[in-house]
Assembly symmetry: C2
Homo-oligomer: 138 residues x 2
DNA sequence: TCCTTGACTTGGACAAAGTCCATTGTAGGA
DNA sequence: TCCTACAATGGACTTTGTCCAAGTCAAGGA
């Protein structure tokens, strides 16, 4: 993650305590926090940080391509620091757990020309839904 | 669509003017209206219909499997009366136009066992994003 | 080290989408 | 026709997120 901080500094980001804390919260694998969750964890490290700043910072990280926005349900957006390797998402319909997954092949190849209606397609998003082992056991 | 009304009556739905109007609005191919759009069109036919009733009715149609909820963007949910043939969605990133599309093959086959983390997968949702011919020309 | 400046942060107001609930109305059966 | 359970209504409320004016501060220069 200090990698990230370095890259951001290199891009002319002004380094503030708030931005550092948000970047630290978004560290790890299979991390998919909502903005409010990021805020809650940031507050533990920096009690005065405001919601607006968390939203601003997340938005900047997304524009810079350092974090991905994920919408696996129609509730809050989630922020995924795994922006460096393309992947899709597997979601537990019961508990909401999210895993990054890597399907083989190119999903775009499955859409025939006759089904493209003249669109220029630039991106495919796949969400697998099911029940995670935990919920299946419970 | 009178098919739909018949089916609903058969399932013990109490038929009201409001429900009939909502069902009528949701008729056709490539229809992907938001709840507010459904309400706006319903009001033209039945001026006193309330927003809450539109939400209730849409929710019921979804539970009954007669209409699908689609979340192609982070804004309002859209309601898709094409619930009888499985399909995916193609979305214009510029203007938001949505088309139903039918990819070949089973997208589930592309996810190796090692990438399933013990989940039992029941559903795959694919969203293709790009630029529609109209927006590309403009 | 201290100043300056423009970028950053803050809190609160605001907005969009949707839910909830008490009250009122009505479809459909007896 | 009358009853009654189910449905509709509208307004308050919630969640998620955006916007803004005012205050604060990081970082480069003197």
């Amino acid at each position: 993650m200090s990698d990230l901080l370095e890259r951001l500094r290199g891009r002319g980001w002004r380094m503030t305590a708030q931005r550092r804390v948000v970047a630290e919260v978004l560290d790890g694998d299979h991390v998919h926090l909502t903005a409010d969750e990021v805020h809650a964890r940031a507050v533990e490290k920096l009690p005065e940080i405001s919601r607006a700043t968390v939203y601003n910072t997340l938005g900047e990280l997304v524009s810079l391509g350092e974090v991905l926005e994920v919408s696996t349900d129609r509730r809050a957006k989630r922020y995924d620091p795994n922006a460096h390797r393309p992947h899709q998402h597997l979601v537990c319909a019961r508990c909401g757990a999210i895993r990054d997954v890597h399907p083989v092949g190119n999903p775009l190849a499955d859409l025939p020309d006759t089904e493209r209606f003249g669109f220029t397609i630039s991106d495919v998003e796949v969400t697998y839904r099911g029940t995670c082992p935990n919920c299946a056991a419970g």
